[in-house]
Amino acid sequence: MKSGLFGFLFAMWALIIVGGGIIVTLLGPISISGFGDLDWFIASVIKAVIAIVLVVIWILILSKLKNFIFKKEINL
């Protein structure tokens, strides 16, 4: 059981590192021009939407991982 928890912790950490890489790679280069003072705002909104989608995907993966690692324990 305990090794499962340590494994889940490690998997969460790995997902944070990989997720960070995806966020930097995807969101970093996004810049908008042609809207004047709104450039900054529009770019921020696009970044926010992408980040939220990534976080939702991250939670879904984590949820599947949880069910896989703790299959027996969750169905107590």
Binding site: K2, W13, F70, L76
Partner: protein
């Protein structure tokens, strides 16, 4: 770095001593006023006083005032105001039964001083991959971070000594990480959190003489979140907090809504005849970290507490590795 040594030492001594000295009289005052609850994990009818929050917040404010006298940083003010607001929110919840949404919403408002005082950097730093500029999204991150860390520490406060012991490990790990990323001033500002938690652990460890209550747990969690933001170590802080995050994640993914613990139907954990803790078969009960630890078989309260501390040390090591990875860019 050397000139920071004296304020660091004085503030750590003040943080530890204030809580260490103030908690016994606080226990007596709370006993006189009969502010006590039954310790559910003891065979006998043991009553334990709460909340210990007033001692914790006094230690934090006193030590941070010492640091402010030396360093005069806006970041210290932001941490103190947000943490004090979190204490007040917790204290209201200790005294009155509030709805499930009260704490998250109120804690989100408590995060505003960090924004108002400009005590943040909107670049989010990730290990190996560098930073990303997310100015608008970062405001949302600040607003969400304080309720998350506050409630996460509050949700792990289920056994004698766990919340304070866990905070000792997580906050010292975070301080080490801040030194590694060479953010020395915030590292020193963060040290009192560990010493306050350590002094409170003396009275909170099994068998508890006092419980931190919502005011204590939210104070510790909100200060941790504030340090993460003003120190620019949000990701590292999240890693050091992972066992508590897992607890909240398991709870929310099984309950599927934000609720107070008292609203939960079904018991995740029960007692054996010799009063060891055991996981129940109740399908209505939420999945929690303690329930998963106990899935391997019954354990004493002390054994479960140490199992959580081992997980905290493991994630503390992962946080330190992450801090070293911050200096490397692929």
């Amino acid at each position: 770095m050397i000139d920071l040594l004296i304020p660091a030492i004085i503030s750590c001594i003040v943080a530890f001593l204030v809580v260490f000295v103030m908690t016994p009289p606080l226990i007596k005052i709370l006993e006189k006023r009969n502010f006590a609850v039954k310790d559910m994990n003891k065979k006998e009818d043991v009553m334990v006083v709460r909340p210990g929050g007033p001692a914790i917040i006094t230690g934090i404010i006193a030590s941070e005032i010492v640091l402010y006298a030396f360093l005069q940083m806006n970041e210290i003010l932001a941490i103190v105001i947000t943490t004090t607001a979190a204490f007040l929110i917790g204290y209201v919840d200790d005294r009155k039964v509030m709805g499930g949404w009260f704490k998250p919403v109120a804690l989100a408002i408590a995060a505003i001083p960090i924004i108002a005082l400009g005590a943040y950097d909107s670049d989010l730093a990730f290990p190996l991959f560098g930073t990303v500029q997310i100015p608008a999204l970062y405001f949302a991150l600040i607003i969400f971070m304080i309720p998350i860390t506050g409630n996460t520490i509050n949700s792990i406060d289920v056994l004698n000594g766990v919340a304070s012991g866990f905070m000792v490990i997580a906050s010292f790990s975070l301080s080490i990480c801040l030194f590694i990323v060479q953010n020395y001033e915030i590292a020193i500002v963060s040290l009192p959190l560990g010493f306050v938690s350590l002094a409170f652990y003396k009275y909170h460890k099994i068998p508890s003489k006092i419980f931190p209550g919502d005011s204590g747990a939210l104070t510790l969690g909100a200060m941790y979140g504030s340090i993460a933001i003003v120190g620019g170590v949000e990701i590292i802080a999240a890693v050091a907090l992972l066992p508590a995050v897992i607890n909240s994640f398991l709870f929310l993914s099984s309950v599927k809504r934000i609720v107070e613990h008292r609203e939960i139907k079904g018991k995740p954990v029960d007692h054996t005849e010799d009063f060891r803790l055991k996981a129940t078969n109740d399908r209505k009960a939420p999945v929690t970290l303690v329930r998963l630890i106990l899935a391997g078989g019954p354990m004493t309260e002390k054994q479960v507490g140490f199992a959580i501390f081992k997980l905290a040390i493991f994630s503390g090591v992962l946080a330190i590795i992450t801090a070293f990875m911050m200096g490397v860019t692929l």
